[in-house]
């Protein structure tokens, strides 16, 4: 009797405070349930994207520029190989190289090839150019709503170093006699984060202006003499759109997506060229026909900038996937996963290129695909070819 009353007392207290317990446990339970649901009952809902023990997940991270393309590959490759799951997170080229070096991801991605210092740290890194991008000078000038302002490399270098201060400066006006440029101060917009786009842009300015080369140079982040900073391609695009008399550099597909007008740039053949898939591809084809380095060699010298082809847009760049030459040395890697990764990249550089044009990317020229395939053949898993 006594024990019974004690038990009932305890029970009633328990019920009184059960709300407290319910809240706590429900939170944990939902977590646990979603875990198990994702493995069982979700399997019926999502037959293709389910994680079952026979599935392989491959993690990659890096450049923001190829993200829309790689993310499309992720979804499309699921249809080809339902048991392989690709996960690519756009954290920026700098982050991609860093995480690849730290071996926290299965593959990295960068718009800039590894520098000598980076290669020393990330030994046996293989570069696989997976697509081609171009950087455009996007602007917001009241009275000039359309693309097609004509600019040259040296003029851009002078604008970004603050030497040309007004839009109606004779140097700009003489290139655009048909346009009425305002008597307003130029505001330059640049990336505030470490960026492959900045690397391509500053490399172009360095090639165009010896003074830029000596004082500022080319890197993923530089000491800007003037202007305002914004994070990411979209940050720069928004800053340009949001304030008048601005000019900044963004990758072509971001300019197209945000409908920002961009300049035609004078190439080394003396023509003012509009950045299009075709004019960018001309540069890539020309460079590839002259021979590309081996996958595990240095790609630092490879450049699509100021290409000699007469119709080539002068500010273009490969963007690279980074994978270790011997995949067996990566943690979190096994032979099946290594094969899945290589198969995915093989697919990406061939069938995957069919998705490029629609998204504003330049499909790889045949020579580049061949060079990539050679590089992939050289990959090993603990010494064995994959």
């Amino acid at each position: 009797m006594i024990t019974n009353s004690i038990i009932s007392k305890i029970m009633s207290k328990f019920i009184k405070n059960s709300l407290v317990i319910v809240v706590m446990t429900s939170l944990l339970l939902t977590g646990v349930m979603t875990v198990s649901m994702s493995q069982r009952s979700f399997a019926q809902l999502l037959p293709k994207q389910m994680q079952t023990p026979g599935q392989t997940s491959i993690n990659g991270a890096g450049a923001t520029f190829p993200f829309p393309l790689i993310d499309t590959w992720r979804v499309e490759y699921q249809k080809v190989k339902p048991d392989v799951n690709i996960n690519y997170q756009s954290i920026g080229s700098g982050g991609g190289v860093k995480q690849f070096t730290a071996k926290t991801v299965d593959f990295g991605a960068s718009d800039a090839p590894l520098t000598a210092a980076e290669r020393a740290k990330a030994t046996n890194a293989v570069h696989i150019p997976e697509t081609i991008g171009s950087v455009v000078a996007a602007y917001n000038i009241p009275g000039i709503p359309d693309k097609g302002l004509k600019l040259t490399g040296p003029v851009l270098a002078d604008i970004f170093s603050g030497k040309i201060k007004k839009w109606n400066d004779p140097q700009i006006q003489s290139l655009n006699p048909d346009k009425k440029l305002p008597d307003a101060n130029i505001v330059t917009v640049h990336r505030s984060d470490g960026s492959g786009t900045t690397f391509v842009w500053t490399s172009f300015l360095s090639k165009s202006s010896p003074q830029w080369n000596q004082t500022i140079g080319a890197s993923k982040s530089v000491q800007w003499p003037s202007g305002v900073g914004a994070p990411g391609n979209e940050g720069v695009a928004n800053a340009i759109k949001g304030s008048p008399n601005t000019i900044g550099y963004i990758e072509l597909n971001y300019a197209l997506n945000t409908k920002t007008p961009y300049a035609f740039i004078k190439n080394s053949a003396g023509k003012f060229v509009e950045p299009t898939l075709d004019t960018v591809k001309q540069a890539a084809t020309d460079v590839a026909s002259k021979g590309l380095p081996k996958g595990d060699a240095s790609w630092e010298k490879v450049t699509l900038l100021n290409d000699k082809a007469s119709g080539a847009y002068p500010i273009a760049s490969f963007t690279y996937l980074l994978i270790p030459k011997d995949l067996g040395k990566s943690p979190n890697m096994n032979e099946a996963k290594a094969k899945a990764l290589v198969d995915f990249i093989k697919w990406a550089i061939t069938d995957g290129q069919n998705f490029s044009s629609k998204l504003g990317y330049v499909p790889l020229p045949d020579q580049v695909v061949k060079a990539d395939q050679e590089s992939l053949k050289s990959l090993t898993f603990n010494g064995k070819p994959i």
Binding site: N17, L19, V20, V23, M24, L27, L28, T30, G31, V32, T34, V35, S38, F42, L45, L46, Q49, M50, Q51, Q55, S57, N59, A61, T64, F67, P68, D71, T72, R74, V75, E76, N85, N87, Y88, Q89, S90, I91, A102, K103, T104, V105, P231, G232, N233, E234, G235, A237, Y254, N257, T258, P331, N332, L359
Partner: protein, 331 residues
Amino acid sequence: MSSSNNPSSRKEKSSGERPSKAGNNFRQTFQEISIKHASRRRITNKIVSIIAIVFVIGAIIPLASILFEVIKNGVAVLSVQFLTQPPGAIGSDAGGIGPAIQGTLITVGLASLIGAPIGVLSGVYLSEFATTSSVKGPKQRAISFFANTIRLFNDVLTGLPSIVIGIVGYVAIVLALNSFSVWAGAFALSIIMIPIVSRVSEETLKLVPNSLREAGYSLGISKTKITLFIVLKNAKDGVLTGVILAISRIAGETAPLIMTILGTSLFFTSLTGPVDALPLRIWRLASQPYESAHGFGWGAALVLILIILALSASIRLIARGKGIRVRTETI
């Protein structure tokens, strides 16, 4: 008004006993002054009330406009598919944020399992065991020094930028395991959680009347049992409020997750692999140049706000009618 009149009416009575010319004059001036004062006080009272109401409205405007914006933009994308599916290719309307919702629940749940016991026990120590009344001399000084050091470090930890805690998680766990992982994210979040829970627990336990402890001692119950079954039990609602406050706080953290869980478009696979989380997904989606990605971002923000609102509502339910006052100014 009436209170300001009281002294004058008392004066009236006393002066009424011995009427004199001077007294009448005094009474008159006193009344004038008090009436003048009363009307001035009334006006001041009105002005201050109006200012207070204006500031209250000013404080509500940001919250209301955030809720309005998030609901306006987020409701459109909500659907079963949005809540359960993995994301489709960026720029397309396909898919949802299933992995992010799942990842937030797992990471926050695991972080609470790590952080809540440590936080509560450290609060119990500071309130119950770091008392110095029973010991004297150097031992007393040592205990109070240790307790004060813990309190100081707790406060410092509360003020630490969360991105720094993320870097700690990256160096301590991600680099050690060579993989972005749920563990690293939960570890970083639990570090944010511990000082909040510890502080709130300590304050709540201190509110438990000492007579309850003394009653326990008088019955010969051991200190462990008194702490567990009397003190902690009486302070349970307050302690849980602290835990839930801390959970709401970490559920919205982005910075510690950037460096620890990486994010993924896949559902949970293992505790040692990357996972997604709502705040991280919102941040990534917001930096995409696609309208559909922004729509998804608003939807994810709405889901996150609903989860946190549900947690806050549960605090109200727990604390309702129990007169529990938790000191939250340390949070």
